[in-house]
């Protein structure tokens, strides 16, 4: 069997005195979709940001796509070229048009020619159904459109793993669906996805497993139907009850 896409073993993370990640171990198989949820401050963002080195960790082992994520800068940039990330706050580059947002990273990270990068960018913008906005600046489009552009920008690099950190939390309700729709499309293909979200409908329909975190620990890992209907831990049960209320 192929090596899992992500292997986390005994990960520890401290912010000063605060123990943000406590002995996290998790394996994500290639092509798997894993949803991470848990109360605010439980360490979800910290964990997912460790995966591509935006955050450092204090102890443990982290392998992504066969690269050791750590101090080695060459390994780190290899990981970043192969792993895409979508943020809650979109983080489009406001001084660049939508098309250029997608073209420039390809030129800089993969050394693609501008012509090839443009073809790829248009293709991904079409796939995310935002190609008609290619010539606009980010602050001229809606939140849902911004998030789909951010997704297109990542997909231009043909990532094998996608990390999402609450991609729909900053969106107005009517725009959540359009973003979840395109994410469903990705999950249906053989992309490996690690997604922090509280959209339980989404988790139910696409997640292979759901990870529940609290206080920097993984409390429970289970398939969505069982974790939502028969959570084994009280913290999990309380959280989902609160979500449903």
């Amino acid at each position: 069997m192929a090596e899992p896409a992500i292997i986390v073993e005994g990960l520890q993370k401290h912010y000063g005195a605060h123990h943000a990640l406590r002995d996290i171990s998790l394996t994500v198989a290639a092509g798997e979709t894993v949803v991470v949820c848990g109360p605010s401050g439980s360490g979800k963002s910290t964990l997912i940001r460790c995966m591509n080195g935006l955050e450092t960790y204090s102890e443990g082992r982290l392998r992504v796509l066969g690269h050791d994520v750590g101090d080695d800068l060459a390994e780190l940039s290899a990981v970043r070229r192969r792993v895409g990330m979508v943020f809650q706050s979109f983080n489009l580059f406001p001084h660049l048009k939508v098309l250029e947002n997608c073209v420039l990273p390809q030129i800089r990270s993969l050394r693609r020619s501008r012509a090839d990068a443009t073809i790829e960018a248009v293709k991904q913008l079409e796939r995310m159904r935002v190609d008609i906005h290619a010539d606009k600046y980010p602050d001229q489009i809606s939140g849902g459109q911004k998030q789909r552009v951010a997704l297109a920008r990542s997909l231009c690099l043909h990532p094998e793993v996608m990390l999402f950190d609450e991609p729909t939390s900053a969106l107005d309700p009517e725009m959540i669906a359009e973003v979840l729709d395109v994410m469903r499309g990705l999950a249906a293909q053989d992309m490996t996805i690690l997604c922090v979200t509280h959209e339980m409908g989404f988790a139910r329909s696409v997640a292979d497993r759901v990870v529940f975190m609290a206080d920097g620990r993984i409390v429970e890992i289970a398939p969505p139907e069982s974790i939502f209907s028969h959570p084994r831990h009280k913290a999990t049960r309380d959280f989902f009850n609160a979500m449903r209320a």
Binding site: G53, S77, R80, R81, N91, L104, P105, R108, Y137
Partner: protein, 362 residues
């Protein structure tokens, strides 16, 4: 006429303009009195200035006997000595070179103000070409142009050259300082921070004196360069210390998400800085940067003190002669207009850029 126009209502804007006048200038008796008195003074002052500067002025050297008596400004001094003011001690026969050089620098500045030229590839080429042309014209020694050493440079072309070189050298230096100060290596960040703070706490005059006078004592001959070169480098370091703090503020104003997104996309460090962070930092700090440029332009006059003959010193040299010693007001007004032309141009440009960035984007 009056009868004919009566059925038509006056235009609304007129109406509100009257109302605006009444509200702001004639609200009460004392208010009206003040408005009239102050308005009268302003009108009188303006008329006197126009009288002095234009109507009663003596323009031609031929009429210079009339200067002084009841006449207004004696602009004859400018006609007589404009070459000294603009070119300083630059050899008379070669002054056409100095004017072409001025034009080259001014064009370089104007062209680099056009946003279409703002790319990491075009700007350096443009500026190196502009300063290269300037130097070849001013210094000569090629293509049959006689050599004119920098000690003989002077007047407006020296002012422009100092300003342009300080800006050209200082800007990249400022970027380096700003990046070093936010380096993740504490040693680099602290040393740069300390250096910037020291430079900013010294008067410019001290720094320029050190460059002109002290460096030659401490540094071996071959490393010294000309006095002008030393002064420009020192001035550029001074400019960079201030500009670095402006850039650093611009970088701090960006959300950390910008850098993170670029890193997550695998963009290398230089690209994150050059393509993502710096353009936004410069945009956000444009007014301060223009302001710094204006200050620097005006500060170039300080080099007089260490023996350079820039436009201000050249003007003073005119007054220093018996012949035109009485016309110091005319000379200073003229110098002020020269400075004003450049500084006003710069600040209008800054205002235009800001508007453009608010409306459009790029």
């Amino acid at each position: 006429m009056v009868v004919l126009s009566q059925p038509e209502r006056p235009p609304a804007s007129n109406d509100s303009a009257l109302g605006w006048l009444r509200k702001n200038f004639f609200r009460s008796w004392s208010n009206a009195l003040f408005t009239l008195a102050f308005g009268g003074f302003v009108v009188w002052a303006l008329l006197s200035v126009v009288d002095w500067m234009l109507l009663d002025a003596v323009w031609r050297v031929a009429n210079r006997d009339r200067c002084g008596h009841d006449a207004g400004a004696c602009w004859a001094v400018i006609e007589d000595r404009w070459r000294l003011i603009f070119f300083g001690l630059y050899p008379y026969e070669e002054q056409w070179r100095s004017s072409l050089a001025c034009l080259a620098i001014t064009l370089t500045i104007v062209v680099s103000c056009v946003p279409a030229f703002w790319s990491a590839r075009r700007l350096p080429v443009l500026w190196l070409a502009g300063l290269g042309i300037f130097f070849v014209l001013m210094h000569g020694g090629v293509a049959g142009l006689p050599v004119v050493t920098t000690e003989q440079w002077g007047g407006l072309s020296l002012t422009l050259f100092i300003f342009a070189s300080v800006f050209l050298l200082g800007m990249p230096l400022a970027v380096l300082f700003a990046l070093a100060r936010r380096s993740s290596l504490p040693v680099i960040a602290m040393v740069t921070g300390g250096f910037i703070d020291i430079v900013r706490s010294l008067p410019l005059l001290t720094i320029l004196f050190a460059a002109a006078v002290v460096i030659p004592i401490l540094v071996p001959d071959w490393l010294q360069g000309s006095k002008l070169a030393r002064v420009i480098v020192a001035f550029a370091v001074f400019f960079a210390a201030y500009q670095a703090e402006i850039i650093r503020a611009g970088l701090q104003s960006l959300s950390t998400g910008q850098e993170e997104a670029a890193q997550a996309l695998g963009m290398p460090y230089w690209s994150v800085v050059v393509d993502i962070l710096l353009p936004q930092a410069f945009r956000n700090t444009l007014p301060s940067t223009i302001n710094q440029a204006v200050i620097t332009f005006k500060e170039t006059s300080i080099v007089t003190v260490i023996g350079f003959f820039e436009v201000m010193a050249s003007g003073k040299a005119v007054i220093g002669t018996d012949e035109w010693g009485a016309q110091f007001i005319e000379i200073y007004v003229f110098l002020a207009l020269v400075y004003f032309a450049f500084v006003f141009g710069l600040s209008r440009y800054g205002a235009w850029l800001e508007r453009r960035m608010r409306v459009g984007h790029g």
